[in-house]
């Protein structure tokens, strides 16, 4: 088990190194001369050259790459051009809001998707199944920002139950609509996923055995069916959590939710390259960690994976 996790961790580090190399290349290719941006519009050529030297932009590429890696090892992701603050600190300052939104999104996914999926499978072809299957089909086809705008229109603008975006207290009130927006697509996918997994399990012989022992239908469900679905569920949850933590640019932009996604969007508009690439890197780090965690949990739950 430890060997499995160690090997998996090793590969994650390799992945991370490749990710960092790609972001380095992208940073290099992105438009906008950081030295000129920092120097401002009225700077002389000498000023620009001096700043360029300070930033190490006059060095050969491999030396810049070395510096980049060295800085990253010290958790130095550069300095935001727009704010003049260290990139990592800038991202972390917005991270709490993103984490709140991600958590709400995952909760909505679960409380909407899970019961509907289980019930649809249980009463296959029934009214709940047909309605929720059709709804989930439509929900995964909707652009997230459209869902967000529609929810804003209905529940914030028409009925005035929720604020028209932004962040305030109580947080639950503000996070409800963006969280729901994030959760709806996921819930629809969970409904499909859980439903089909359960329908895979139900015809199997040990379920018949369990029934013939005299277990009630719900006992069969909870003791024998749900554990089978659990691995699928955990994988998906881990991936979702990773993606949500990586910053949901679109949803945060629709609701003006002050998380790392909205900040990244502002950075895009201002061409604040260090902050954009810092957020990309930060997101990739979360997703790699989430994948690692999912694999480790998987290895614990299913010993066959370890041997492979």
């Amino acid at each position: 088990m430890i060997r499995f996790i160690a090997r998996r961790l090793g590969w994650s580090l390799v992945d991370l190194l490749i990710v960092v190399s790609i972001t380095f290349v992208l940073t290099y290719l992105l438009p906008g001369d950081p030295a000129r941006t920092i120097a401002g519009p009225h700077a002389t050529v000498a000023d620009v050259l001096r700043i360029r030297r300070q930033l190490g932009l006059d060095l050969p590429l491999y030396q810049q790459y070395g510096r980049y890696l060295w800085n990253l090892l010290h958790l130095n992701l550069g300095t935001s051009i727009e704010y003049g603050t260290p990139v990592l600190a800038t991202i972390l300052s917005k991270f709490a809001a993103t984490a709140e939104l991600a958590l709400t999104g995952v909760i909505f996914e679960l409380i909407l998707g899970l019961p509907l999926g289980i019930y649809s499978a249980k009463r296959r072809g029934g009214i709940v199944d047909r309605v929720s299957s059709a709804a989930s089909l439509a929900a995964v086809a909707m652009p997230q920002f459209w869902i967000g705008i529609l929810l804003l229109f209905a529940f914030a603008f028409k009925f005035g139950w929720f604020p028209l975006g932004g962040y305030g207290s109580p947080v639950v009130w503000y996070v409800f609509l963006p969280g729901l927006t994030l959760g709806i697509g996921g819930a629809a996918y969970y409904q499909q996923l859980i439903r089909s997994r359960i329908l895979d399990v139900l015809p199997q012989q040990y379920i018949t055995t369990a029934r013939s022992k005299g277990l009630s239908e719900w006992q069969v469900m909870i003791r024998h069916v749900i554990p089978q679905v659990l691995t699928t569920l955990i994988t998906q949850l881990g991936m979702d959590a990773g993606y949500f933590m990586a910053g949901v640019v679109v949803v945060e932009t629709v609701f003006g939710w002050p998380g790392i996604g909205l900040q990244a969007w502002n950075a895009i508009k201002a061409l604040d390259v260090p902050l954009i690439m810092g957020t990309v890197l930060f997101g990739a780090f979360w997703i790699i960690m989430a994948n690692l965690l999912v694999d480790a949990v998987y290895g614990v739950l299913d010993p066959r994976i370890r041997v492979k």
Partner: protein
């Protein structure tokens, strides 16, 4: 955003009757999609107005978009342009981008996936690592960063998006090739002296085609959503080009005065994507009906 459309294996019914003809789902949704595509292609001829024309009489005196009337069947947008004409034109960029980049991504995916699965060793390690790494990037933000480098033209969007999406096809193809490689017909082909290239193109690739087609359909749907999202963020199709995603984005602040401006393009997107995904689902069931 688009990560949510993923293939879900539906239940396996052991006693499903053999079906050689495509099922109703496949046919019905193919007709729906075909209609959308044809209408979109014919937009220059059937649209009542020029979609980019700002009508002097297109806004009320206080500058509010008009409601439906004979001259403008769906009313006008916030710039006094005919909403129906923009709607008819608006599917063009998204359809073009999603189909082209999905085709490109599928071709790259099938070639690289087959190579990784067939040869194994360091080629497999390199390709699989690369697939893993590309999948680890936060999708939307990564796409935005790449588009910023090359500027958001339709051709660049196609290239950037296929550079991201080939990974999904490649991973599926690789897994399938790994299991196909162990089968006897491959051994037989090797025994007959088939070169690796012939083996891949004549024996392995045809067998993964169904998987690739099902994945292709999902990619089309996902890219469609991604394209809409990029337009929303302002790095996709540029105004004044009529584009469903962009129309929603630009009318966002007008939902109070005219909710239709948000509803129509959104519904167009939903109907298109539902049609696309259901064609894929229908195709999968149809093929399984034959093979099982």
């Amino acid at each position: 955003m688009s990560a949510q459309i993923q293939p879900v294996e539906t239940e396996t019914d052991e006693f499903k009757p053999r079906r050689r003809r495509p099922n109703a789902t496949f046919i019905v949704f193919s007709i729906v999609l075909l209609t959308i595509v044809v209408v979109t292609i014919l937009a220059p001829w059937i649209a009542p107005h020029n979609p980019d024309k700002l009508f002097a009489n297109g806004l009320t005196s206080s500058g509010v978009p008009l409601g439906p009337r004979p001259e403008f069947p769906l009313g006008t947008d916030q710039f006094g342009r005919d909403e129906l004409s923009r709607l008819l034109w608006g599917g063009r960029p998204a359809l073009l981008i999603s189909f082209s980049s999905s085709i490109l991504a599928s071709i790259c995916g099938i070639i690289l996936g087959t190579m990784a699965g067939y040869w194994g060793g360091w080629i497999d390690t390199v390709i699989s690592r690369f697939v893993n790494v590309l999948m680890s990037f936060p999708l939307t933000l990564f796409a935005v960063a790449m588009v910023l480098i090359v500027s958001p033209s339709i051709l660049n969007l196609i290239i950037v998006i296929s550079a991201i999406y080939w990974t999904y096809t490649a991973r599926l193809v690789r897994a399938e090739i790994l299991s196909l490689r162990e089968q006897e017909f491959v051994t037989a082909a090797i025994a007959l002296g088939g070169s690796p290239r012939r083996l891949m193109t004549h024996h392995l690739m045809p067998n993964v085609l169904d998987t690739v087609i099902v994945r292709f359909v999902l990619t089309v749907a996902q890219v469609f959503l991604l394209e809409a999202g990029l337009s929303y963020l302002g790095v996709g199709v540029q105004p004044p080009t009529p584009d469903w995603g962009l129309m929603i984005a630009q009318s966002q602040n007008y939902y109070g005065s005219d909710p239709g401006l948000i509803l129509y393009p959104g519904l167009a997107i939903v109907v298109t994507i539902v049609a696309v995904t259901q064609i894929g689902e229908g195709y999968r069931l149809w093929k399984r009906g034959i093979h099982s």
